[in-house]
């Protein structure tokens, strides 16, 4: 092939690289700046805590990445997250295993329903999962009698380890995230399922005409996303020791933001889990830096984070321009 095409190809790949790791770049930058500015920032203590707190969003964002790569979106994750936390706390009375499985089962069921509506009935993911958002939240309030009951996890339950345990000083949630992202990366980049996700996101009709099983793949990815949201909620319940009813509101937007900042295109067909992880970390680091700087009142903070979001996304988009 001609030199022209060759350079074109290479610059294409390079752009891909930058796009995937643009978030990482910004992250490193902030870490360095933050570290120089505040001696209480780059401490193992602070970062350790941040990592644990970030792990729940990380787990959710993993599923969101896959959904978005397939050209869809899942708005229900925030509610499913909260619902699963409540279910876990409730089920913990029957032992750790129940506390783990009950919420996952319910979450998966919700995912399945959404998947069928999107994959089979060909409804718009946005509206279907918006329904899921309302439904799961309603169900949560129903089983907590309008949110008046908070179920507690028995203080001695082994289930708590899932959120509070540590291995060699590293929080259990963090370890889970590491494992899940290794798995997730492999699934997305190295399995036929992953390939199908990219294909569907890149051109659904084409994927269908190429004889790929579009429907089942879509169903699968929504089940996956909901189950991961469920797992996040379960881990959270284990960390909090109770099924808190007021969490997860608007969480879907954070997840989407993290995914997009991570360089995954909302139009589908391109993305990476490593980028998403960087995106999640970025959100939490920014939040902590705003705290470290201090002095902003809460309203100003909102303005600042809005501005930061724009900046990051614009940077990100400009870096990946050559891609589109």
């Amino acid at each position: 092939m001609s030199a022209a095409q060759d350079t074109a190809a290479r610059s294409g790949r390079l752009a891909g690289l930058v796009q995937r790791h643009g978030a990482l770049g910004v992250l490193v930058l902030l870490l360095v700046v933050g570290g120089l500015a505040f001696d209480t920032f780059l401490t193992a203590y602070n970062l350790g805590n941040l990592a644990v707190q970030a792990s729940f969003l990380a787990v959710i964002a993993l599923g969101m990445t896959m959904v978005i790569v397939s050209g869809g979106i899942d708005l229900s994750v925030g509610s499913v997250y909260a619902l699963s936390g409540v279910l876990a706390a409730y089920a913990s009375r029957w032992g750790p295993l129940a506390a783990l499985l009950v919420p996952l089962a319910v979450a998966a069921a919700i995912g399945l329903a959404q998947g069928l509506l999107v994959g089979r009935a060909k409804l718009a993911p946005f509206i279907v999962t918006l329904g899921g958002l309302l439904f799961a939240r309603g169900l949560l309030q129903f089983i907590t009698t309008e949110g008046s009951e908070t179920y507690l996890v028995p203080r001695e339950s082994a289930f708590l380890q899932l959120g509070q345990g540590t291995v060699l000083g590293v929080g259990m949630p963090v370890l889970i995230v590491v494992v899940l992202y290794l798995l997730g990366g492999t699934v997305l980049q190295r399995t036929r399922f992953g390939m199908r996700l990219f294909a569907i996101g890149g051109g659904e009709d084409a994927a269908n005409l190429m004889g790929l099983s579009v429907t089942s793949t879509k169903v699968g990815v929504y089940v996956l996303s909901a189950t991961l949201a469920g797992l996040a909620g379960t881990m959270n319940a284990a960390q909090l020791g109770s099924g808190v009813t007021v969490i997860g509101v608007g969480l879907e937007l954070n997840a989407i933001a993290a995914v997009v900042i991570g360089g995954t295109l909302l139009t589908g067909g391109s993305g990476s889990v490593s980028g998403t992880l960087a995106g999640v970390a970025l959100l939490f680091v920014i939040q902590d830096l705003i705290n470290q700087v201090g002095g902003f009142n809460s309203n100003l903070q909102a303005v600042v984070s809005g501005a930061v979001l724009v900046t990051v996304v614009v940077l990100q988009t400009l870096l990946s321009r050559t891609r589109r």
Binding site: L123, I256, A257, A302
Partner: protein, 314 residues
């Protein structure tokens, strides 16, 4: 296709699904809800639907271009926060300034989408987060009573029994309907949504159209903010327009405008908004607990889009 044939019926259901659902809900209410047909009640529903409807009109245009505008709620808040500041210079100027703020928000969103190429959801997410914050900074987080008589009149007055806010909404519906159906801008908008690349190849001013659409959405959101504030008699930036983006999007989609762009159904959007309003009303009037209400809402929404889905010919 033969009238009466199954395909024919399905086709109708698809095109008029939202009206069918609306009809059913009215019937349900006639049975369940005491004095549902009373003029007062109808007026109440009409008045309450106005803000969502006005926002939804703009949203429909944005969605027509394959986009979405999450910032509308915050823009409502911004308008509400700005209004009292300028009432001193007379209500007209104050309102104009509010609309200008809405337009500015639109320019920001539109530029991010059209020139930088940021994905609409995220582009407008930034303003969703920052916009309300700004509104609160402006207002010091305080709710302010609005005592200006003209504004109050706008909110609570009526002409021949028709509330002013409703009149405004009706006018806007007509304007937007004409805009979509009868103007070059409207047709270009739909083309851009249908196939951006082809639109560019056809020499359409794609970017101008995109920015224009977000500006319209911003301005309409500001109008909604003003109307809501006038009605409430107070400017409440901290709570006004919370989650309105979701209600608006739902109204648009339930009204038959596909999120995939390339088509805009204005009347459908009106019907969609009214449908959502009636659902809420029905649930409240029959004192359904919040939990059940939310689940019911979810199911009805999905059902409504299920009726009118495109049958999947690849």
């Amino acid at each position: 296709m033969r009238p009466g044939s199954r395909a024919h019926v399905v086709g109708l259901a698809r095109d008029y699904g939202v009206y069918v659902a609306l009809g059913l809900l009215v019937l349900v209410n006639l049975v369940l809800t005491p004095n549902f047909l009373s003029v007062d009640n109808l007026r109440t529903q009409a008045v309450q639907v106005v803000p969502v409807l006005v926002v939804a009109l703009g949203m429909a245009l944005v969605i027509g271009t394959k986009g979405v505008d999450l910032s509308v709620g915050s823009v409502m808040a911004l308008a509400a926060a700005v209004l009292p500041l300028y009432l001193g210079y007379g209500p007209v100027l104050a309102v104009v300034i509010c609309l200008a703020v809405g337009a500015a928000a639109g320019v920001l969103n539109g530029s991010l989408v059209a020139f930088v190429g940021v994905q609409p959801i995220v582009a407008t997410l930034a303003l969703l987060v920052g916009g309300r914050g700004l509104a609160l900074v402006i207002s010091g987080g305080q709710l302010r009573e609005v005592r200006n008589p003209e504004v109050r009149e706008l909110g609570s007055g009526s002409v021949l029994g028709v509330p002013n806010t409703v009149l405004v909404a009706v006018v806007l519906v007509v304007v937007v309907a004409l805009l979509v159906g009868r103007t070059t801008f409207g047709r270009q908008l739909v083309a851009v949504g249908g196939n951006p690349k082809a639109a560019e190849f056809a020499g359409l001013p794609v970017r101008r159209v995109l920015v224009g659409v977000y500006v319209i959405s911003g301005v309409l959101a500001a109008v909604a903010g003003v109307l809501a504030t006038a009605r409430l008699g107070a400017s409440d930036p901290s709570r006004l327009g919370e989650l309105v983006e979701l209600s608006a999007i739902t109204a648009v989609v339930v009204g038959g405008t596909p999120l995939t762009g390339g088509r805009v159904r204005v009347l459908g959007t009106v019907a969609g908004a009214v449908l959502m309003q009636l659902i809420t009303a029905t649930l409240i009037k029959n004192d359904v607990p919040a939990s059940v209400a939310q689940m019911a809402q979810a199911l009805i929404i999905v059902a409504a889009v299920l009726v009118q889905r495109e049958r999947g010919a690849a």
